[in-house]
């Protein structure tokens, strides 16, 4: 029975918990912790880019021998960008975002007592935790952390002779990622099974909130693509440690010819990007799902074009698995393949455009409640469009030639997947914090956080496009080796100032988050006047989510401001929760 309470010890309640709500909080806090590390790293390397050769005591303080005299070494610079990318993409925006909100919302919004397998869910979190620990430990090894870029292309990542970060640091990176993948697969399988099997009575697939659709489809592409990265990592481990030649061939380094013969780094690139591109959507779709929910709720309007939104999520997910080659237009891949990938890649713009226009139409004639969650969601739509549009350049093979691997790419993906996804995550935290902790976050700090973050995000990444168009390659320790880039220094300084302000502004969020857990104002049951089922569950967290019977679902999730035949709001309020039966004379949408 659901309202039967087990005797819980501290360990089973807070540490080895099998309750999806606790696991979700564990994911969130771990994600925030990793995020702090990664954002801090980005502030350090932005300092290096804007003020090369200048001495900063903060660099010496944190980087030690690699930052002697307050100037970081080239190897350390590459390590910082590598680990920043790895942590942000996988640990923060995959585990921190999807792990937190899929866990919290799937059971609560579909009306389930818990995940299909609470035990698997617990293992999933603890493997994630283990992989985070290993990744953090790798920062402290003597030869330095992995530094071949987050894409770890061999042979650079395979040969310790090529760079010092490819020694023990790289081994730990690979071990950490292998464990991470296992964790994320367990999570994803659990999400899929739960959504398919444990929906409450009346919760048809066509009545699922868009959040759940997004998490569900995300889990499916995760299950399809993550195993491929695992195999890529395993083969790389074989090449590194057991002398195989999957990726390596004809290499002369450090004065000797190596024995490798017949392998190809391009194979690795294919395997990597077969995950790598869907990964973009693994990161982005949950953020879009959260946005759909937050925008509809706070516009006090149904999301526009629910079916089109679902179809475009599915279309994006499908297309995302057949476009990976657009990362490889200039790798020596057959030009004909390049044509195919250009075609499939640019097609993604269609469902993306549908989503963007549907969001805009949802705002139209709404009664917008501009709370922090809503601001971040609107911000997401803005950055998603700004960043997404330049995909038309990068996805077009002919145009990609000249901007490939320049800062244009860095600007593009930071806006469209980095900033957008992190905005989605913030929106989710502000929106569901009351559900997680039973208290409200401080709204004014939330506003301050949004405004500084939004302005600095644009301030960093918009000018960056032009630095790329000027031909500046990414992953350059300094631009001073080329006089042609001397005139970019002042743009770099502007970006760095924005980046540091934006990074420091996250302190506001962290302060707000942790203090609100303990000191926040007590939250009412349904603070945002929302329709979805999670707000019918009692404030006090309990195993099984609802005392007594699980509510039945009678309608879709978006009956906001629905009018009866007299032009009055149904029931006198502008929202009708999903568990309210269809009224007499009311048409179900």
């Amino acid at each position: 029975m659901s309202d039967h309470h087990h005797k819980e010890t501290f360990v089973t309640k807070y540490i080895f918990s099998q309750d999806h709500k606790m696991i979700s909080k564990q994911y969130l806090v771990t994600g925030i912790f990793m995020g702090v590390i990664a954002v801090f790293m980005s502030m350090l390397f932005r300092l290096q880019l804007a003020y090369p050769e200048k001495s900063f005591s903060i660099i010496e303080a944190f980087l030690g021998r690699s930052g002697e005299g307050g100037v970081m070494s080239p190897d350390m610079y590459l390590s910082l960008v590598t680990i920043h990318g790895t942590i942000m993409v996988f640990f923060v925006l995959t585990a921190g975002l999807s792990g937190t909100f899929s866990n919290l919302l799937i059971p609560l919004q579909i009306g389930a007592r818990d995940m299909a397998s609470g035990f698997l869910n617990m293992i999933s979190y603890w493997l994630f935790f283990l992989s985070s620990v290993i990744m953090v430990i790798s920062l402290f090894v003597e030869t330095g952390p992995a530094s071949a870029g987050w894409t770890i292309y061999p042979p650079l990542s395979a040969l310790p002779q090529a760079m010092s970060g490819s020694g023990l640091g790289m081994t730990l990176w690979l071990v950490s990622m292998a464990i991470f993948i296992a964790s994320s697969l367990m999570g994803a399988l659990n999400y899929i099974v739960t959504v398919l099997n444990l929906r409450t009575k009346g919760m048809k697939m066509t009545r699922l909130p868009l959040t759940i659709w997004a998490f569900f489809i995300t889990a499916i592409i995760g299950v399809i693509s993550f195993p491929v990265l695992l195999s890529a990592a395993l083969l790389l481990i074989f090449d590194r440690s057991f002398g195989t030649s999957f990726y390596l061939s004809d290499i002369f380094i450090a004065g000797e010819v190596l024995h490798y013969k017949g392998g190809s780094p391009i194979l690795f690139e294919h395997l990597f990007w077969f995950l790598g591109h869907p990964e973009v959507y693994i990161v982005l779709l949950p953020a879009l799902g959260i946005t759909s929910e937050v925008i509809a709720t706070n516009s006090r309007k149904p999301i526009f074009g629910y079916r089109a939104m679902v179809m475009s999520i599915i279309a994006i997910a499908f297309l995302s698995t057949i476009v990976w080659g657009h990362h490889m237009f200039v790798t020596g891949m057959n030009p004909f393949l390049g044509s195919v990938f250009t075609f499939t890649t640019l097609l993604i713009a269609i469902p993306s455009a549908v989503k963007a226009f549907n969001y805009i139409t949802t705002l139209w004639k709404g009664n917008l409640q501009l709370n922090p969650a809503m601001l971040f969601s609107i911000g997401l739509v803005s950055t998603f469009i700004t960043g997404g549009l330049t995909g038309l350049v990068l996805g077009d093979s002919a145009l990609d030639i000249n901007v490939h691997d320049t800062y244009f790419v860095v600007a593009h993906f930071h806006l469209v997947m980095g900033i957008s996804a992190i905005f989605g995550m913030f929106a989710g935290v502000y929106h569901w914090f009351p559900k997680m902790y039973g208290r409200m976050m401080n709204k004014d700090l939330g506003y301050l956080h949004f405004w500084i973050t939004a302005i600095t995000a644009y301030g960093v990444f918009f000018p960056m496009h032009f630095v790329g168009l000027a031909g500046l390659p990414r992953r350059y320790y300094t631009n001073t080796a080329f006089p042609i880039f001397d005139d970019l220094l002042h743009i770099n300084q502007v970006m760095t100032v924005f980046a540091i302000i934006g990074g420091l502004a996250q302190i506001i969020f962290i302060a707000n988050f942790f203090f609100s857990i303990y000191k926040g104002k007590k939250a009412p049951l349904n603070p945002w006047k929302s329709n979805t089922l999670e707000w019918t569950a009692p404030m006090e967290h309990m195993h099984g989510n609802w005392p007594g019977e699980i509510p039945h679902v009678e309608r879709w999730a978006y009956d906001y401001s629905k009018l009866d035949e007299n032009g009055e709001l149904w029931g006198g309020q502008d929202f009708t929760p999903q568990n309210v039966p269809i009224r007499k004379g009311e048409e179900e949408f």
Binding site: A308, T342, L370, I385, N402, Y447, F462, L563
Partner: protein, 349 residues
């Protein structure tokens, strides 16, 4: 322990944030979604954010005018790319301008007012069709034009009398080899690297001996690579150790160098170095650069074409470069004739 000091500062900042709010008494009880006042302030701020984004767009474009690559492409193929790029950018700007306006204007206009009813508008087949079909049609055009351009750029089969040049990448420098009189590059593999044969050329191959190398000699890097104006150049790219990428931004050309295989890219240079130095964009850009350099006390520089490494390849990746000089064909031939072939070099040894 200085690190600890900085961490303590960050934590103190966080505490200060919270105290600040408490002090101002802003942590007030309120209507939970958003008050009318909050909607009003944030609605206006959203308009300001829109202004900021537009301002940033204009400022970036204006400010970047002189720092971008010269508009004039230095290769035949680059011209096709530039046209496609311009079309795409205009499209992007228009869509960006309109959609951002709609987002922020709607946010402002429909900011919440107590008692106003939102318009229940859940679906419209017509609208959905419009914004599925229009992007599809526009994209179809873009895709077909893009693929046509891609073929123009990548297909070198119709090149007449091409110059064969090999670029050889290694941590952290470039070497090069011209095919010589037979227009064929001799076979090479890292397993032949020995002594002065730094490119691993197989001298038993009949095509090899007339090849003209630009090699590292006595520890000195290769200084410059010469190319003729108006003659198609086919580059064969190899790498000795890790992935590199040969990036020649002025020619709109880039291709990776992959250990274990030979990759290819080709273009026809159309502007000599001397001509490019007189180009308006170049003059403006280098005026800016030289002003910055002389303010700093560095020597002034002249425009040169560049070959950069654009695939992370190790600690000195940021400084793996080679100067490219485009000459009139006559001057180029003269220059090439003054370089030594492998046969000549090997005899001397």
């Amino acid at each position: 322990m200085k690190a600890l000091f900085f961490i303590i500062i960050f934590v103190a900042l966080a505490v200060a944030c919270w105290q600040f709010v408490k002090l101002l008494g802003l942590a007030k009880a309120d209507d939970q979604t958003a008050t009318e006042k909050e909607n009003n302030i944030n609605g206006w701020l959203m308009l300001i954010l829109m202004g900021f984004i537009y301002g940033l767009m204009v400022y970036s474009m204006y400010g970047a005018k002189d720092v971008l690559l010269p508009q004039l492409s230095a290769s035949e193929e680059g011209k096709h790319i530039d046209i496609l790029f311009k079309i795409t950018m205009v499209l992007i700007m228009v869509v960006q301008f309109i959609t951002q306006f709609l987002i922020f204007y709607f946010t402002f206009k429909y900011r919440g007012i107590k008692g106003r009813k939102a318009y229940f508008f859940a679906d419209s087949h017509k609208l959905e069709t419009i914004w599925t079909v229009i992007p599809a049609v526009v994209l179809a055009g873009l895709i077909f034009y893009g693929l046509w351009t891609w073929n123009q750029v990548m297909d070198s089969s119709d090149a007449e009398n091409p110059l064969m040049v090999e670029l050889y990448a290694k941590q952290f420098q470039w070497e090069a080899r011209y095919a010589g009189n037979d227009h064929e590059l001799g076979y090479a593999n890292v397993r032949f690297i020995e002594g002065t044969n730094t490119m691993g050329v197989d001298f038993s191959d009949k095509n090899a001996l007339d090849d003209i190398p630009l090699m590292v000699s006595e520890g000195k890097f290769v200084k410059e690579l010469h190319l003729p104006k108006g003659r198609p150049v086919i580059f064969k790219l190899r790498s000795q150790d890790v992935l590199h990428s040969a990036y020649m931004p002025h020619f709109r050309a880039q291709m990776n160098c992959v250990p274990g295989m030979v990759t290819e890219i080709s273009f026809t240079p159309t502007v000599t170095t001397a001509e490019m130095r007189l180009n308006d964009d170049t003059v403006a850009k280098y005026e800016g650069i030289n002003k910055i350099r002389s303010d700093r006390g560095d020597e002034t520089v002249e425009f040169d074409y560049l070959l950069l490494c654009n695939k992370i390849c190790g600690s000195n990746h940021y400084n793996m470069q080679l100067k490219i000089v485009v000459d009139e064909e006559e001057d180029f031939n003269k220059w090439l004739a003054s370089q030594k072939t492998f046969a000549q070099l090997n005899n001397k040894n």
